[in-house]
């Protein structure tokens, strides 16, 4: 028991003494466990990794910048033009034409979920510049609030928020 007679001035982190038993027992228990995982890598893997990665990342990046005939931006324009063409066709055609609303939502969902639309948050962000992101505002009427809430509860991957 610490007396107040000679105060040394040291202090401990909060809950230090409350959790010390747990930590001591953790160490004792863990001593019985193996220290290594047993995983290994193919020989020369790490030595070659530098070259492989630099090739894949930098060279590809450069190639993408040079060969930009059909970049994502252009792809966006082409998609927009195609969408307009479908829309005009559906307006001026007497017969009931295929419109975006006639498309099977489940089909679109499975297309995305199967990874055919291989874009993640970073890829989507790359389509916008800073100004674009700031100006981006969603029409509140576009998505039903209840559906949105259900979707977020079911599908939100909180790990996505751990990136800075």
């Amino acid at each position: 028991m610490e007396t107040n007679k000679n105060i040394h001035g040291f202090k401990t982190p909060p809950d230090y003494f409350e959790s010390i038993e747990d930590r001591v027992f953790d160490s004792i228990r863990a001593e019985a466990l193996p220290k290594n995982t047993g995983f290994k890598v193919p020989s020369g893997y790490f030595e070659q990794l530098d070259t492989v990665l630099v090739e894949r990342v930098i060279v590809k990046e450069k190639e993408t910048k040079v060969i930009s005939i059909f970049s994502r931006y252009r792809l966006g324009y082409v998609a927009a033009i195609a969408a307009c063409a479908i829309l005009l066709f559906s307006i001026f055609n007497d017969k009931q034409a295929e419109t975006i609303s006639n498309l099977d939502v489940a089909l679109i969902e499975s297309y995305i979920e199967e990874g055919s639309l291989d874009m993640d948050t970073y890829d989507v962000l790359a389509l916008f510049d800073n100004e674009g992101i700031e100006n981006l505002s969603l029409d509140n009427n576009l998505i039903d609030q209840d559906n949105l809430e259900d979707y977020l509860l079911e599908s939100l991957d909180e790990s996505a928020f751990t990136i800075e």
């Binding site: 995982t37 995983f39 970073y122 790990s159 996505a160 800075e164």
Partner: protein, 186 residues
């Protein structure tokens, strides 16, 4: 581990067009092994770890311009690697129309015939035990037990309080030792 000054210099070089390529080579050489082993313990197979590691470095390269230094480069990269591994497991589960837990169970079963796993029976048992933990406890256990991160580093990487991490680790060790003991056949 690099010092703060070295890290700042590396970030500066990575964000400069002229020095980017060399800086990236340096970054890969400094962090490839640590990030690989971090990812490998999450996805278990070498081929999957290789895929995730490559994607991680691609993300790092593409997003380094937006790195503002609010956290350490090292923790920022660990977060990207962790997210990439989680995304990879989720995609694999979706593709196979199953759960991430099933994907991991399968990966554990495959370890017995994996040429890149040289663990003995108890190491295999340890992997099985880890796979029974909830995802966050798996991460905390692997990073604390094998990688020997401090709780402060873990707190920054996993965005969880030090107290929360300590209790996660404590529960994980307890469950793992209990699992290993109850399944002792060697």
């Amino acid at each position: 581990m690099s010092t703060l000054v070295q890290e700042e210099e590396l970030v500066e070089a990575l964000q400069s067009k002229q020095m980017q390529e060399n800086a990236f080579r340096e970054l890969v050489s400094q962090y490839k092994e640590r990030l690989y082993w971090h990812v490998r313990k999450m996805v278990l197979s070498h081929d999957d770890a290789d895929d995730v590691l490559q994607n991680t470095f691609i993300k790092i390269y593409k997003n380094i311009a937006s790195f503002k230094g609010d956290s350490k480069l090292y923790t920022w990269m660990y977060r990207i690697a962790t997210n990439e591994a989680i995304t990879f497991l989720n995609k694999k589960a979706k593709r196979k129309n199953t759960t991430v837990a099933d994907v991991k169970d399968n990966a554990i079963k495959n370890l017995q015939t994996d040429v890149y796993f040289e663990g003995d029976a108890i190491q295999l048992k340890l992997q099985e035990a880890i796979a029974t933990l909830p995802h966050k406890q798996q991460l905390v256990f692997n990073m604390k037990y094998f990688e020997e991160h401090t709780y402060e580093e873990l707190s920054e990487i996993l965005d969880t309080s030090v107290g929360g991490l300590k209790s996660s680790y404590h529960i994980a060790v307890k469950k793992i030792t209990a699992y290993v003991k109850s399944n002792e056949t060697f």
